[in-house]
Amino acid sequence: MSYLLAVTCAVPAAGAILTAALPAGTNEARRRTTKAIALGVSVVTLALTALIAADFKPGGARYQLTESHSWIRSFGINFSLGVDGIAAVLVLLTSVLVPLVMLASWHDADPAPSPDGTFDGDTFEGRRRTQGFFALILAVEAMVIVSFLATDVFLFYVFFEAMLIPMYFLIGGFGDRAGGPEASRQRSYAAVKFLLYNLLGGLVMLAAVIGLYVIAQGQGQGTFDLQTLTSAVADGKLVINPTAERALFLGFFFAFAVKAPLWPLHTWLPNAMGEATAGTAVLITAVVDKVGTFAMLRFCLGLFPDASKFFAPAILVLSVIGIIYGALLAVGQKDIKRLVAYASISHFGFIILGIFAMTSQGQSGATLYMVNHGISTALLMLIAGFLISRRGSRLIADFGGVQKVAPVLAGTFLIGGLATLSLPGLAPFVSEFLVLVGTFSRYPALGVIATLGIVLAALYVLVLYQRTMTGPVKESVSKMPDLKARELLVAAPLIALTVVLGVYPKPLTDLVNPAVADTLSQVHRTDPAPAHPVAIPAGGEQQ
């Protein structure tokens, strides 16, 4: 038994505690040490996850590097971890994004003069702001990684819920400084809304988790172990009657649909992403929300295959509504960050669409979509954050002509936008097209409606770019500096990833495909065959 996975989870957790315990950041040097330590921990985590991905053999068993430590023995709960292809790419995404988020938020938690003129570094909270911020980010990273790696339903539940606590403090405690006292009221509203929505989802899920255990125990499968449960369901050793299965499915799905978020449970996201710092917004949408879609794929489909198939059409319709609805609302936004939030809602529609279309293209596409959306939204949101911090306003109308004064900033912003609208050649195109093809081959009408989303995406991205970056230079932005070295260091890896994964996504698809094939076999679905299969094999090898 290797301890690689446990170590990967433990490193950021220990880092969070260490960072929080560092002496208070009363001066710049101390704060810099704190940040450097946190960044270092996240880089070590990245190295460890790279090691996981390297150790993972795509052709081997579904769950690899498994380990299990006894936790609550009387209920059969273990601290068991394991990694499959889907988890591997998502863990990689998380550990790539966290250092970049830290780097982008380098000064977001520095003490600053508060609106009434006092310097908030004088207060206790002010002195501990920096530690708090970076420790919370590491805590979120640790919990997200455990959630991705957990192969025990209860363990997953605990960390799925626990994540809310650091996220709550990140949203409520650290906003962008583009607002006065009203902003802090809005921020605590957003934080409470985030917490309540997700807690409600989590409680419903807890009931379902307990229900599942009770039913399983009644049939001699008193365990929370995911692999045991799924194989018992597959072998017919665990038979749940259809009504109970559907109820349990809904319990799990509700929690994930709130987190993902699926229309109409999405209204917490624009508030949370709008009020939080750009870095926190990236953590929400690119990392934490992915746990929701990931869990749909792993838990809903694996544990309740029949109920998944039963509810799939309804869920698909909701996702398509979400795609169009999110895009239309993004068009109507006046606030840059809320625009990105609504765009994300549209994109989550695509992810859920791909998962429940239940074709290999759909699900592989959805998994890639999680990764690519993470990268592209991080790029767009972090650059938007740099833009907002320069002007002190989130309103689109307050910008104009930035391209002239800060061409590099505008250029990177445009690349982020183009990735968001899934330009072919960039990574999101691959996943979006796979999702669309996968949906179309089983539900042509839904596939066609979802394709409308690509036109709307062009609309909201280009309108945003036009209003903020082009036109005559506005007085208020005429002194705006271009990207600094630190900010370029954030943008460059993200841009490189979107380009590389758009041209050569094979490393990811090789990891993901076997896990998706296994998931599809759990729900007993095969891809629809083409109506008139081609006689000669596709591909260009023959001359």
Binding site: P424, L459, Y465, Q466, G471, V503, N513, A531, G540
Partner: protein, 631 residues
């Protein structure tokens, strides 16, 4: 030799990457680097062309597999290229005209501080366009398809500080995306029908699919073509796209990118030949756009917009020809190539005029420029003769063949199409003569601008005139070379197929008719614009003229039908989201708060009332226990 194919694309792609990422260090020689990348690509194209000519006809198409791009289940997308006669024609046109326009831009953009970036975008465009015509499957074609859309977006909006340019760029991209939607759904449909979207397998199995599916695929491809080639109903972006620098209008919005729709339809001939309904739709779109563009071209006073209307109309000819099936494919592509020469030449001429006239675009402020710009006058004039179909220069040969093919369609359809193409020829002669007279003949009409600077028209530098001269050569001689021994037809026939059709009129009669139409149109223009001085302020004109000045109300239509309802819907949804969905949740929270407020009053703090409730509770419990026991 085949390994040169990826290099064709790589040269401009590397050029673009260097120019866009290189930073200021490259400012001094960046434009030459970009031109060199384009020239290199042209040299590769020539090498490939000569090697292709050296092979026997059935050995000419070659394929080059680079790597597997996306592979999920049965979904296999490869990055692999196919170079056959059709692609070769395009590659030569793109790299050849592209290189000339790079050279031209060196002079044209000399005073622009962002010239390096301009060349980066031009190189990016070349790479994407080459990818489009070299791809061996529809998905890779789609990458090039959107890639040229991106390059077009960047170049139309190159002068981003002008709000009009930024708006035009955005409009072009979004309208194109509507078309792209058609292409992507077509690819999905192909995948579900054939399990593949590579050209070879799809064309080989197309006959097995049902008529309905093939028609659907055909119509979706037509939608894509309409977007990229500015055909009705997705034509509205092309006129606005003239906000871009003139070399861009010449390369992208005249010679190459806008003809991608014709390429797509010709490339998919195996599908269209099996779907007559889709072909009929193609022909209708072509015929309508042909007339639409020509009418718009007659009314515009902006020289570039008049030429844009003309481009739309000429591509209408090509689309119409492509819709005729094997009778027309060859001539569609032939007209495409000759049009590439003369229209690029005309645009470069227009750019040269603007260059000498302080960027003035209104033809009513030109007049008599032939004395000041002799080279521009001659090259523009040769392009003019080519486009109106004057016997001899290339446009005559290619357009005449299309008119003949339209008649050869047979039946009533053939007569209608033939008549439309002839009317189109007459109107073309009219508006081009108008442009010619207003620009180069008559008296000078320019005035000092607001700051009192009077333009001093002068001939453009060598870097601009040399490409114009070379393109003029192409405009004059290409058509004759193509029809000599039916060279072009034999060259392309293996890819597109060819059939004579049966024309009710002999080719001599058709030729006579088209010359008559051309003379009538040109003569009418001379009567209207050549005999009396051109007023500097446009006359009010008829209702049709006024509508044509507003692009036949296309924007008013789109605004009323799409934009206004769309923004109303968006506003309604924003309201619904905050007041409806969020309001529901907030309302729930508020009512829970209200109920607990009520309940809190029960906790009044008086010991005796608590005691009472305790007694009451005990009483109820005891009573219930007793009651349950008795039951």
């Amino acid at each position: 030799m085949n390994s040169l194919i990826p290099l064709l694309i790589a040269a401009p792609l590397v050029g673009a990457a260097l120019l866009l990422l290189g930073g200021r260090a490259l400012d001094r020689f960046g434009h030459w680097l970009g031109t060199f990348a384009s020239l290199l690509s042209f040299v590769f194209a020539l090498l490939l062309f000569s090697s292709m000519l050296g092979r026997s006809v059935d050995q000419r198409p070659v394929r080059e597999h680079l790597f597997s791009w996306i592979s999920v289940g049965t979904f296999q997308a490869d990055v692999s290229f196919q170079l056959d006669q059709l692609s070769m024609t395009f590659v030569l046109l793109i790299t050849g005209v592209g290189t000339l326009i790079h050279v031209y831009s060196v002079g044209y953009m000399a005073h622009d501080e962002r010239r390096r970036r301009f060349f980066g975008y031009l190189n990016l465009f070349l790479a994407a366009m080459l990818l489009l015509v070299l791809a061996d499957n529809y998905l890779l074609l789609y990458v090039g398809w959107e890639g040229v859309g991106l390059a077009s977006y960047l170049l139309i909006g190159f002068w981003q500080h002008k709000p009009a340019a930024a708006t035009a760029a955005k409009k072009a991209f979004i309208v194109n995306r509507v078309g792209d939607m058609g292409l992507s759904i077509a690819i999905m449909l192909m995948f579900t029908q054939f399990g593949s979207f590579a050209f070879g397998p799809v064309f080989a199995t197309a006959h097995q699919a049902s008529q309905g599916r093939l028609t659907a695929i055909g119509l979706l491809l037509l939608l894509a073509a309409c977007g990229k080639s500015a055909q009705v109903p997705l034509q509205s972006w092309l006129g606005d796209a003239m906000e871009g620098p003139t070399p861009v209008s010449a390369l992208i919005h005249a010679a190459t990118m806008v003809t991608a729709g014709v390429y797509l339809i010709t490339r998919s001939n195996a599908i269209f030949d099996l779907a007559p309904t889709a072909q009929l739709a193609v022909v209708c779109v072509g015929a309508v756009t042909l007339i639409f563009g020509a009418i718009v071209g007659c009314a515009k006073d902006d020289i570039k917009k008049a030429l844009a209307g003309s481009t739309m109309s000429q591509i209408g000819y090509m689309i119409l020809a492509a819709g005729l099936g094997p009778i027309g494919y060859v001539f569609a592509i032939m007209h495409l190539v000759t049009h590439g020469f003369f229209k690029a030449g005309l645009f470069l001429g227009a750019g040269s005029v603007m260059h000498g006239m302080n960027d003035e675009v209104n033809m009513r402020h030109y007049g008599g420029l032939r004395k000041y710009m002799p080279i521009t006058y001659v090259t523009f004039g040769l392009g003019y003769l080519a486009i109106i179909g004057f016997p001899g220069p290339s446009g005559f040969w290619s357009k005449d063949r299309i008119i003949e093919a339209a008649f050869a369609k047979g039946g009533t359809e053939g007569w209608i199409l033939g008549a439309v193409t002839l009317i189109g020829a007459a109107v073309t002669a009219f508006y081009m003569t108008r442009v010619m007279i207003m620009t180069f003949f008559g008296e000078k009409r320019w005035q000092p601008d607001a700051e009192g600077h009077e333009p001093h028209p002068h001939e453009s530098p060598k870097s601009m005139t040399v490409p114009m001269i070379l393109l003029a050569f192409g405009s004059v001689f290409a058509g004759g070379l193509f029809v000599l021994n039916n060279n072009f037809q034999h060259w392309l026939e293996p890819v597109t197929g060819f059939s004579e059709g049966n024309s009710p009129l002999s080719s001599g009669v058709v030729m006579a008719l088209s010359i008559a139409c051309m003379l009538a149109g040109a003569g009418l223009a001379y009567v209207v614009y050549g005999r009396s001085p051109v007023p500097a302020v446009p006359p009010v004109g008829s209702a049709l003229t006024r509508a044509a000045r507003r692009d036949l109300l296309q924007d008013d239509f789109n605004h009323a039908v799409l934009v206004r309802p769309g923004s109303a819907l968006t506003a309604a949804l924003v309201f619904f989201d905050s007041k409806g969905l969020d309001g529901f949740v907030n309302g729930l929270a508020a009512s829970i708060g209200g109920i607990s407020g009520r309940l809190r009053r029960v906790q009044n703090g008086y010991v005796r009332s608590y005691a009472l409730s305790m007694f009451g509770g005990t009483l109820v419990l005891v009573a219930t226990t007793l009651l349950m026991r008795s039951v």
